[in-house]
């Protein structure tokens, strides 16, 4: 069974795009993080991305950098994030979970062991930000052997010559990085996205989700309409951060505030029909 393919197939039947949410695992602490995770499907997240905290997240803007540091301070490790997924899976067998992060913690854990444990924990796909197709043999065989999708980033800088190569190495869905930049900074215009997505279609039959710079329900709805899904990360991470006390600890309404934000995004995404 492949939860990612099943989920996108189901959404296609419904005629709408996906809301993909991103939050850093263990932010701001493991219990709150798990409570948010458990609430995400009910709040309308179709696919869940969990960030694996890393000290040096070179593709992330200040909000996600800070989230990573909060998580590390709360004791986050790769093993801890896998435990989080296992706990989530006890109550939810259907929602796809994708781990997004940087290669060094995986390398340190052991790539074989990681792919094996991730699959056993209920992870469906991986986004390794700093492993481009040129370095695919570092993790692709192990991911494949364990049935994990390797979701690749395609950027506005990915030219025609590279596009087939990048897309051929992708499984699960395609993550289109809407801007040349780091997470949570600028936003792409609808016109840019409307031009960019059809450029990808001839090279892939996979669903395409748009991320980076999608901050509002309107932008999420637009991305879900132009492509097959919208990834919202920084905006949710900022809602979480704003709910914390001055020591960076969760307050009683932290979980509710994040999930309310997810509900607003889901409502907007579900209000539009996908182009596909």
């Amino acid at each position: 069974m492949n939860r990612i393919a099943d989920r996108f197939a189901a959404l296609k039947r419904e005629g709408r795009g996906a809301l993909v949410t991103f939050l850093e695992g263990y932010d701001p602490d493991p219990a709150t993080s798990l409570a948010i995770l458990r609430g995400l499907p009910g709040a309308g997240a179709d696919v869940i991305e969990i960030g694996v905290p890393f000290t040096d997240p070179m593709a992330d803007g200040p909000s996600i950098q800070k989230a990573g540091l909060r998580a590390l301070k709360a004791g986050a490790t790769l093993a801890g994030v896998l435990a989080l997924v296992r706990d989530f899976r006890k109550e939810d067998a259907a929602t796809p979970v994708v781990l997004m992060g940087y290669f060094n913690p995986v390398l340190s854990y052991g790539v074989d062991r990681f792919c094996n444990d991730a699959a056993a924990s209920g992870v469906d796909g991986l986004i390794m930000v700093d492993v481009p197709p040129e370095e695919a043999d570092e993790i692709e065989p192990q991911a494949k052997a364990n049935g994990l999708d390797l979701i690749r980033l395609v950027a506005p800088t990915t030219d025609e010559a590279r596009l087939p190569r990048v897309l051929a190495a992708t499984t699960g869905f395609v993550y289109y990085v809407a801007i040349t930049g780091i997470t949570g900074t600028r936003s792409a215009s609808g016109a840019d996205l409307s031009a960019a997505i059809p450029r990808l279609r001839p090279h892939t039959d996979l669903p395409i989700c748009i991320g980076f710079g999608i901050r509002t329900p309107e932008k999420a709805a637009e991305a879900a309409r132009i492509a097959d899904g919208a990834v919202v990360g920084t905006a949710l991470v900022e809602t979480l951060a704003a709910s914390l006390d001055d020591q960076g600890r969760a307050k009683p309404d932290t979980v509710r505030k994040v999930l309310d934000h997810v509900r607003a995004l889901a409502e907007a995404v579900r209000g539009v029909k996908s182009a596909a």
Binding site: D56, A59, S108, P132, E134, L153, T157, T158, G181
Partner: protein, 413 residues
């Protein structure tokens, strides 16, 4: 023997930018096309006679190359006096990179990279800097070529390298203090990479060391090899033979690669890369990536890194801002595992001692980075025969460090 030794240590990297298992191109997709563009431009520049002629002209008439090879007689006598026997105490030479314009070896590779940036049609330059030497060199080259320049520098380093910060500003560069992490070189590099991702269309990233994604490690090394090539000619002219040992401090390791690489296939030449041991390699405050780290992936390449059991990068510590980095160039990692170069360490205190001895005996105030190399020469030379020859890469001058040194010696300026 199941693992034959390579017949040359000078062949790397392979087509993927790997030195053995080290190196590579671990960057986000947004940067990947640009990395490939830099690689193509560099490959072209290698055989572009006009490019090479212009770079050589700049090295000669602007930088002041060749830099002298100085027989450090008083240092040699001092170390002989400290040796255990009369027949010990090698002759010590200094390769005087501190005499280069801007006061360190960094300018060699910077000028070449700025020529490359021009060739690629880039209109902005960014750089990261630790001690400020690379930032000053980049700001200098950008002034010369009339390119806007932004230098990312950890806020901690901004505070401890004020003279260089002011220099960069005088040269017309913007200095962007970086406050994330420990606010040192690693964080400056993160921030420079983030800026680059957002500005790939017009910006060239001028990396200061032999690290980062391919082609930077090989490109910066090739541009720094002028150090070793000159040294080879100069020592042959002075002594009629090659040296017995080469010594150089290593942070990222560009000055060391520049000195070592032309000698890698000369069997009789021993090489010592000196890592910063900070307050000691058995404390948590050091920057000895090879001595105390293990292989991992950071800043686009696989190399030895200071990291915890979970693969989180640890903060480095060194009195010298230029060595305060938790990684090292991938070729060094490979040379370490191949056994060709010996990686040793010197503590903050040993570097401070060497800094003072060199100033008093030779009338040369070395950079604190360089003083780590010298600290090892001071251990090594007294154990070698009197007719042995040691060359230290005197990679930078220490004017920028006098405030730090004064502070550590309890002197108020």
């Amino acid at each position: 023997m199941n693992k034959p030794l390579p017949n040359s240590f000078r062949q790397g990297p392979d087509g993927r930018g790997r030195f053995g298992q080290f190196g590579g191109r671990f960057v986000a997709e947004t940067l990947m096309p640009l990395i490939l563009e830099v690689e193509r431009a560099y490959e072209e520049a290698k055989t572009d006679a006009a490019f090479q002629t212009e770079w050589r002209r700049l090295l000669k008439d602007y930088v002041g190359r060749p830099s002298p090879l100085w027989l450090a007689e008083r240092m040699t006598e001092h170390l002989r006096a400290n040796s255990a026997r009369d027949d010990l105490g090698a002759k010590v030479y200094f390769k005087r990179e501190e005499l280069n314009h801007t006061g360190a070896h960094k300018i060699n590779a910077v000028l070449a990279q700025i020529l490359l940036a021009k060739k690629m049609g880039k209109t902005r330059v960014i750089a990261e800097t630790g001690a400020g030497q690379h930032g000053v060199a980049t700001a200098t080259a950008c002034a010369l070529f009339n390119l806007p320049c932004t230098v990312f520098m950890g806020a901690t380093d901004v505070a401890r390298q004020q003279p260089n910060v002011f220099r960069m500003k005088l040269l017309g560069a913007e200095v962007e203090p970086v406050t994330s992490g420990a606010a040192t070189l690693k964080d400056a590099m993160n921030e420079a990479l983030r800026y680059w991702v957002a500005n790939v269309h017009d910006t060239y990233y001028c990396i200061g060391t032999v690290a980062g994604p391919h082609p930077y490690p090989v490109m910066v090394r090739d541009f720094q090899c002028v150090i070793g090539e000159e040294t080879k000619q100069q020592i042959l002219a002075a002594e009629g033979r090659l040296p017995d040992a080469l010594v150089c401090a290593v942070g990222g390791g560009s000055s060391a690669m520049g000195l070592f690489h032309p000698f890698l296939d000369d069997e009789g030449v021993a090489m010592y890369g000196v890592e910063a041991a900070g307050r000691g390699v058995d404390t948590e405050e050091h920057a000895a990536s090879i001595t105390r780290g293990r292989p991992g992936v950071l800043h686009g390449n696989r190399t030895y890194l200071l990291q915890d059991a979970d693969g989180q990068i640890q903060e480095a510590h060194s009195i010298s801002a230029g060595l305060d980095y938790p990684g090292i160039g991938p070729e060094h990692s490979w040379l370490h595992e191949a056994g060709r170069v010996n990686y040793v360490t010197a503590t903050d205190d040993e570097a401070l001692e060497a800094f003072q001895v060199c100033s008093k005996l030779e009338g040369i105030i070395p950079a604190l980075e360089t003083a780590h190399g010298l600290a090892h020469v001071m251990k090594l030379a007294p154990t070698m025969p009197r007719d042995a020859i040691v060359v230290l890469n005197l990679s930078g001058r220490g004017d920028k460090d006098i405030f730090t040194v004064a502070h550590h010696l309890g002197v108020k300026l």
